[in-house]
Symmetry: C2
Subunit: 176 residues, 2 copies
Amino acid sequence: MEGAEATRIMIGVNESTIKGYPHASISSRGAFDWALQKIVRSNTSGFKLLFLHVQVPDEDGFDDMDSLYASPQDFKNMKYRDRTRGLHLLEYFVNRCHEIGVACEAWIKMGDPKEVICHEVKRVQPDLLVVGSRGLGPFQRVFVGTVSEFCQKHAECPVISIKRRADETPQDPVDD
Amino acid sequence: MEGAEATRIMIGVNESTIKGYPHASISSRGAFDWALQKIVRSNTSGFKLLFLHVQVPDEDGFDDMDSLYASPQDFKNMKYRDRTRGLHLLEYFVNRCHEIGVACEAWIKMGDPKEVICHEVKRVQPDLLVVGSRGLGPFQRVFVGTVSEFCQKHAECPVISIKRRADETPQDPVDD
């Protein structure tokens, strides 16, 4: 096992639904901290972390109702802004890896998070995918969907879903 | 992360359906090898492996139809025999850990594997549960049930399900 290629762990990360960009969601940070504390531990040279942030083009259409678009440039600006915010989100994880001394890569894709994550797993072939999960009950899940359940079924690599700690769960568990 | 308590990984192991005791199933060995190669790596002091083997009392009743029980001793002998075989199964994993230098514990429980595993997770509180999976399709799953899916839903810790490699899958995928 000495000298083997680093174990490549892909971590899906998203922004906080409470604080928005560039803040990472509670479950993203939880998944990252868990991977560091329980898997990487002191063996920083044995692992490489791959951070994937998937941006939802316009999550449910409501955002657009408050916006006025007068030119193609307006759309360009919007996309550029979201992309920039996504970069700041990734910066948090890349900086922490740099401090700790773990190799990492980070990138942004647009689309439906659950499908894009599975597609990227196929393309990048990590050894392991770690996703945070809000740990919602069946009733809440119907409305918000769960990326982690979908990935556990469809991703072509082993998947760990990390639930938030009870003391980190916001008043409304749908928040993150 | 230095000097932290070892990460405790529970691994559910069972006997081969083809070779029987004391041979470990393909998916049990796969789950173990995966945990060593991808998680433990060279950091042998950072992890402790907990092997749980659950024995099914009489899997579907058919075994008993070929047996004649004349005294309470007959039952005792049978249970003792199975327990002994289970011990030899665990011996394989404990020996390999000893060779590599990873701390481990191993024990046997009787009952329905999926329920006993979840119960033991609750009792022992590992950081991670690793279970092998045959990777069966939906049609095959109906008849054999899947321990890994049940554990992913119900175990009170993060769960990784490790599928067998395609080149290790027997002709009949229900075999293991």
